[in-house]
């Protein structure tokens, strides 16, 4: 039995999952399956971006979809109204979202919004944005934006098959995961963990909590927006409910929580599980009653919070610890 520490095991599992996902197209899956996987990967990407802020830094941003929506609308609008390439749209959307995240963070810090108030604040802001989108003619109000697709124009992120989108999404997921990986081994990662565990103690230890919280929020926001932009271009249609609604909002949250926040591969597992549930229920129950999978999600969330707060990743870790008969000898998980 190789003598590994949990961080090494975590790294290996994450790599395995990403490589595994990269190899899937070799099996020439049906377009429908590819579609399901792309959605799953994008959800994992957002969950992972949320994980940086909510898992590692411990900030309960439950209105996180606002950043997703900003990215989606930015890319969609710039493309349809000005012909700006979605590749650029990703950057612009990311920048806008980063700015929004900075504002949210600084406002909540300036006014001392803690925990539940901060959570409500983010939720309120996200729904304000949704209402604004619903009432803004330029972005199609309730009709949303229809983004033409299907032609072949790589510079404009237009492809005729799904496979390129698959790799773009996977690339994004890998990039976000790598960002988290890179951060959590450095000073910033340690400082975010400190903020998560005990903000007063962090300040007393020299951590500039305002700076690090704001930086983390902005970064997480930008990454979320990137996923939103890719989502918009791939699905070719966005509207306020799709990219700013409460339903998808909680789904992103669940991906990270059920999968295991504060871990490298948690959100990936979470997305796999949750999307499998929704697809299975869709298939098994024929035309499944709308909302069935969400009902299961709700039950899953309750179960996780009550019985397995560390999520799926926690379960994996427990199994791993048992296999090697390892206790808490190694560096304990930062969760």
């Amino acid at each position: 039995m190789r003598v590994t520490s949990w961080p090494e095991a975590e790294r290996a599992i994450t790599l395995l999952l990403l490589v595994g996902l990269a190899l899937v197209p070799l099996a020439r899956p049906a377009p429908y399956l590819l579609h399901v996987l792309i959605a799953m990967i994008l959800y994992a990407a957002v969950g992972q971006a949320w994980n940086l802020l909510g898992g590692y830094a411990g900030q309960l941003s439950i209105g996180h979809i606002m950043y997703f929506g900003v990215g989606a609308y930015a890319a969609g609008y710039l493309w349809t109204a000005f012909g700006v390439s979605p590749w650029v749209g990703i950057l612009i959307g990311g920048a806008l979202a980063a700015f929004l995240g900075l504002a949210v963070s600084l406002i909540s810090l300036r006014y001392g919004l803690r925990l539940d108030y901060y959570a409500l604040f983010t939720l309120a802001v996200s729904q304000i944005l949704r209402t604004i989108a619903l009432n803004t003619e330029a972005v199609g109000e309730a009709m949303g934006i229809y983004i033409p697709g299907g032609s072949h124009n790589p510079l404009m992120m237009q492809f005729e098959t799904k496979t390129p989108y698959y790799f773009i999404s996977l690339g994004l997921l890998a990039a976000i995961t790598f960002v988290i990986y890179a951060i959590h081994r450095t000073k910033m990662g340690a400082y975010l963990a400190a903020i998560r565990e005990n903000e007063a103690a962090a300040e007393a230890s020299g951590v500039n909590t305002v700076f690090y919280r704001a930086a983390c929020t902005s970064l997480s926001a930008a990454l979320t927006a990137a996923a939103g932009a890719v989502f918009a271009v791939y699905t070719t249609f966005i509207d306020p409910d799709l990219v700013l609604g409460i339903g998808p909002n909680f789904e992103f949250l669940l991906v990270a929580i059920v999968g295991g926040r504060g871990t490298l591969f948690g959100p990936i597992l979470g997305a796999v599980l949750l999307r499998s549930i929704s697809e299975t229920s869709r298939v098994a129950l024929g035309a499944a009653p709308a909302g069935f999978h969400l009902m299961v999600y709700g039950a899953a969330l309750i179960a996780v919070v009550l019985f397995v707060p560390q999520g799926l990743a926690g379960v994996v870790r427990a199994v791993w610890a048992n296999i090697g008969r390892r206790g808490v000898r190694d560096n304990p998980q930062v969760t």
Binding site: L120, A124, L294, L306
Partner: protein, 292 residues
């Protein structure tokens, strides 16, 4: 000029009437928060549940919503009690983030349970007196709304008296101040929590029933309620009964007047803006320090 003022007053009246029902929702929520110190994200779904109870009672057995309100109150009192005992109680010592996630999960589950059971279709009921109105110096108020308002106010008053005068009520208030305080009155903290959640849920369900005559019944009806209810509760100071009522009336009127001055679509924007304003500038609410 006369008609403009009249129209404006019309909206104010509508706002007050709606605010009364909001008050019932908010009072339940502030009670739960005051005693249990948890944010109940499933509160809107409890309102929605009450709506469906009254809807089906009316459609199946022709029971008037004001009568079936009693049924929904009792039913959801029990549901609330069960939720507290088996789902919320284990999570109470855990970090707040877990509690928030738990109630989000409950809300998510209930919303979609309703969607599965009753389909996402919007339903309405038509009581015989749906379109009757009564006039107050030229301002027309629809009878169903007025009745709902009155019932909501009566129930709120009843709850207030219950909390102030009965032994159980005092235990609940004591628990809000200090978890151990309830024990002094001889009633275990666990029972007090169960009762508090049950009452909160029951009030929400009644509010739902009272809304059925003039509100669209759908599985997602609860979602806007949670946020509005929280705006009200924060505005009126978390845990403050009177504050919840005052806040509800204010928000009801603000939303109504907002939809008159701007557009109906923006009514939620009004309460959100107020919310943000309160969070930033007066997070302790209108009534300062907590008082149950």
């Amino acid at each position: 000029m006369q008609t403009d003022l009249l129209t404006f007053l019309q909206y104010v009246a509508n706002g007050i009437v709606l605010g009364g029902v909001y008050g019932l929702v908010a009072v339940g929520l502030t009670l739960i928060y005051g005693v249990l110190k948890i944010i109940n994200f499933s509160h809107g779904e409890l309102v929605m549940g009450g709506m469906y109870v009254s809807y089906w009672c009316f459609v199946l057995w022709r029971i008037d919503p004001y009568v079936s309100a009693v049924i929904s109150m009792t039913l959801f009192f029990c549901i609330g009690a069960v939720l507290q005992r088996y789902v919320v109680e284990p999570i109470m010592p855990a970090p707040q983030i877990n509690q928030i996630l738990l109630t989000i999960g409950v809300g998510l589950f209930l919303t979609n349970l309703a969607m599965v059971l009753f389909s996402p279709d919007t339903r309405t009921i038509h009581v015989s007196y749906a379109t009757t109105t009564i006039s107050f110096w030229g301002v027309l108020v629809s009878i169903p709304r007025l009745v709902s308002f009155v019932v909501a106010m009566v129930l709120s008053l009843g709850l207030y008296l219950f909390l102030r005068t009965t032994r159980l009520g005092k235990a609940v208030r004591a628990a809000a101040q200090d978890r151990e305080g309830a024990q002094l009155v001889g009633i275990g903290a666990r029972q007090v929590f169960i009762i508090a959640f049950g009452i909160g849920a029951g009030m929400a369900a009644v509010a739902g029933s009272l809304l059925t005559p003039f509100y669209n019944v759908q599985p997602t009806a609860g979602v806007p309620f949670v946020l509005t209810a929280y705006v009200i509760v924060v505005l009126g100071t978390m845990g403050n009964f009177l504050g919840a009522l005052v806040g509800a009336l204010l928000i009801g009127v603000a939303e109504s007047v907002g939809s008159y001055l701007f557009s109906p679509a923006l009514r939620q924007l009004v309460s959100f803006s107020i919310f943000i304003g309160v969070l930033l500038f007066k997070p302790e609410g209108l009534f300062g320090g907590k008082a149950s």
